[in-house]
């Protein structure tokens, strides 16, 4: 049967199991929107800015493991997606973006609302397409979904000219894709597995550094089996949070720039690093030259290009984390590392970063901890980017799989609110807390309208310090307190929320925190709390930019002293 290009797009989405799309319409994509009512199984969420559509699709994909979908029109609609696409790309999130393009005769003529979006997104997508006839829409969308969700996931953009949406063609959804240049390796090489097992069995001070690859692969059980059987302590990257219960006796928190001091010490002292589904980002490794100086490194990742990219690797294993761990676990020996674990426990006692001080003003760490206490940890936490994100990573214990959703690689301020919407719509049965900073929140707060429109019961906690806090912290510590452009005059967030129809509270004292969180939880719909916290609280521990993980600084005084002692000049 012949159908219009727009109808073919919808048929394809249904074949791919898509029931939710985030987007904004416009001239070039109108023919697609025109046929949407014929497909009531696809719920379209009208966002207020296309960046929100991309982040919502991203959040949805992270929370569900399914492909998130967003629509945008040509020109500014498409360019507004760019930040969200780059964000999904750096964090390996499966998103399919469908953009309208000007009609074929106008392409290349600098027509109204024309941009070369396939050119623009080339370096920030896993792959992209410009569809030139309605007859190739089905094959293209099939490939787009296949590429987005398989191998190392990532965003795929499909650009479709206006007249191609209108053109008619026969619809046949292909059952197979033909991509001769795309063959992700899933199974680890047996010889490499053997070498890795030998190293693990012989190690005295082994350490696992786990990343989001464990979550993407759904390898929770395999991962836990390996850690418990070989008695290997576990630390995670920021995005690895939620791959292993943080209250587990073998869990030692997050590594990196704002990681736990004892986690970083473990990296420095390990004789074997088992890196699983992570990519040695500079925020996790700090100065590469000083990284894990006495360790051999096993690196398990599905992307061969990640092997040896940033850090030397002794045993690379290319493959899907779940498959590789299954293969490893078959021959791994039951081991104990009593001395090593005793040592790590001692470091943890000596460097108690997750203790929230009693008394004093309202500090962000206390707020985060209270959210954990009141919700009993049974919530999905979504964050923006900045200080609040680090506090949320440090002071809440994530025991449930995939319960921390955050922008890691790109560090996109404004991710929090739209991503929360996608998370909530993907997992409506869950409590979703959006922990955001006042700066990050203001970058996409217009999506409050979408939250209300979709009746998405998101609980929003604004860690409001009146600063762009992370750059302010750097200015304080590295630029002699020259606070250039980091002071932020915010609106009255309570009135703002109320203007959108969202009930809200302001909290200024510690005693009010618990009641406010309970009030938010009691509200059936969305709720916002503006936590007016100490403005100049800093995130510790901190590894200063350019330093090695060994140079972890835990409190303001030692940091200032260490900087003075080393005569270090800020170089970032």
């Amino acid at each position: 049967m012949k159908m219009s290009g727009g109808q073919i797009v919808c048929e394809c989405l249904i074949k791919e199991g898509v029931d939710l799309v985030f987007g904004i319409l416009g001239g070039a994509i109108l023919p697609l929107y025109d046929v949407l009512p014929q497909y009531p199984q696809i719920h379209h969420v009208l966002v207020r800015h296309e960046q929100g559509a991309a982040h919502a699709a991203d959040g949805y994909a992270r929370a569900t493991g399914k492909v998130g979908v967003c629509f945008a029109t040509s020109g500014p609609g498409a360019t507004n997606l760019v930040t969200g696409i780059a964000n999904a790309n750096l964090d390996s999130v499966p998103v399919v973006a469908i953009t309208g393009q000007v009609a074929r005769p106008f392409i290349g003529k600098d027509a109204f609302q024309e941009v070369d979006i396939t050119g623009i997104t080339l370096p920030i997508t896993k792959h992209n397409y410009l569809v030139t006839d309605a007859g190739s829409i089905a094959r293209t969308i099939k490939e787009a979904f296949f590429l987005a969700r398989t191998g190392r996931p990532g965003p795929v953009l499909v650009d479709i000219p206006r007249d191609v949406f209108i053109e008619e063609a026969e619809f046949h959804y292909p059952t197979k894709v033909n991509l001769p240049g795309y063959k992700p390796v899933l199974h680890g090489h047996p010889a490499q597995i053997k070498k890795a097992v030998k190293l693990i069995n012989e190690a005295q001070r082994p350490l696992i550094i786990a990343g989001r690859g464990v979550i993407i692969s759904g390898a929770y059980d395999q991962f836990r089996y390996l850690a418990e059987t070989a008695q290997v302590p576990v630390v995670t990257t920021l995005l690895g949070i939620g791959c292993f219960p943080e209250s587990h006796v073998l869990s030692y928190g997050m590594v990196g720039m704002h990681g736990m001091a004892y986690a970083n010490m473990a990296v420095n002292n390990a004789d074997l690093i088992i890196a699983i589904g992570m990519r040695f980002d500079d925020r996790a490794t700090a100065k590469v030259a000083g990284f894990a100086p006495s360790a051999k490194i096993i690196h398990i990742d599905i992307d061969p290009a990640e092997i040896g990219k940033n850090v030397r690797v002794d045993v690379p294993i290319v493959g899907d984390v779940k498959e590789v761990l299954d293969e490893l676990n078959r021959t791994i020996a039951k081991t104990e590392h009593v001395d090593w674990i005793t040592q790590m426990d001692a470091w943890r006692r000596e460097h108690p970063v997750t203790v929230v001080k009693d008394g004093g003003g309202l500090i962000p760490q206390f707020v985060i901890r209270q959210i954990y206490e009141v919700t009993k940890g049974e919530t999905l936490v979504v964050t923006g980017v900045g200080q609040h994100q680090m506090w949320a990573a440090q002071h809440y214990w994530y025991d449930r799989p995939n319960s921390f959703i955050s922008s890691g690689g790109l560090g996109t301020m404004g991710f929090g609110l739209p991503a929360s919407l996608g998370v909530k719509m993907g997992r409506p049965g869950e409590t979703v807390w959006c922990i955001d900073g006042d700066g990050s929140f203001q970058m996409t707060l217009h999506e409050l309208a979408t939250v209300v429109q979709e009746k998405a019961a998101i609980k929003i906690a604004i860690i409001d310090n009146g600063y762009l806090g992370m750059p302010r912290q750097w200015q304080e510590l590295l630029y002699a307190k020259r606070y250039v452009a980091s002071r932020l005059i915010g609106p009255d967030f309570v009135k703002l929320a109320e203007a959108y129809g969202i009930p809200a509270l302001r909290v200024t004292r510690r005693e009010e925190v618990t009641a406010a969180i309970e009030r938010a939880m009691a509200e059936p719909g969305p709720f916002l709390i503006d936590f007016m916290v100490e403005p100049e609280e800093n995130v510790y521990p901190m590894v200063p930019p350019g330093a090695a993980l060994t140079e972890v600084l835990e409190e303001p005084k030692p940091l200032a002293k260490a900087l003075a002692d080393s005569g270090r000049l800020p170089n970032v």
Binding site: L122, G181, H187, H189, A305, V318
Partner: protein
């Protein structure tokens, strides 16, 4: 002495924008490319790229892996250490007068190069060979005055063998890469 210049051969899908994807990758990752030559190959839907990379300034293994990640790139291999035939073609337009023309022709003959065009004040020389040969001839002709140079960049192929640029993966379902060959660091 290990060669610093590496020859990579890539078979890519013959689709619009593929060269752009490859070129964009080099730019974005800061890879230094000495030359790139693109043309059709024995399979109609594929094109063949020969890329020369300076191993002293660029991590060749990263280039190979990043290229392999491009969806439209079907296969890439570094054939530097293999037995290969490598050639480049150059056109050199050299200033020539009636006094110098015969000397130029003699030099061209020694290099088994050809004169492909003659004008009042110049001759155009076509030379095929490896970079050293082309560089030597260029140097010799420089004394006469070189008006214009066009070079294709290297193209290369394995000597003998089954034909494709790299052997297919061992048929054990373990993929086409040999992880043991991953260079550490």
């Amino acid at each position: 002495m290990p060669a610093t210049k590496h020859t990579l051969v890539a078979l890519v899908e013959n689709k619009p924008g593929v060269l752009n994807r490859v070129a964009s990758l080099f730019r974005r990752r800061g890879f230094n490319i000495e030359s790139i030559a693109v043309g059709p190959c024995e399979t109609p839907q594929l094109s063949r790229m020969t890329i020369v990379v300076d191993g002293a300034t660029t991590m060749v293994e990263q280039v190979r892996k990043q290229l392999d990640k491009v969806i439209d790139v079907v296969r890439v291999s570094d054939i530097t250490d293999e037995e290969i035939v490598a050639r480049e073609l150059a056109l050199l337009k050299v200033k020539a007068t009636s006094a110098t023309r015969s000397e130029i022709i003699q030099i061209v003959d020694i290099f088994r190069a050809n004169i492909v065009d003659v004008a009042n004040d110049s001759v155009t020389v076509e030379v095929t060979g490896d970079e050293d040969k082309i560089n030597s001839l260029t140097n010799l002709l420089r004394g006469f005055g070189i008006k214009e140079v066009a070079r294709t960049g290297r193209i290369a192929m394995l000597r003998g063998g089954p034909g494709p640029i790299v052997p297919e993966a061992p048929a054990n379902g373990r993929g086409r890469r040999e992880p043991e060959r991953e260079a550490p660091g």
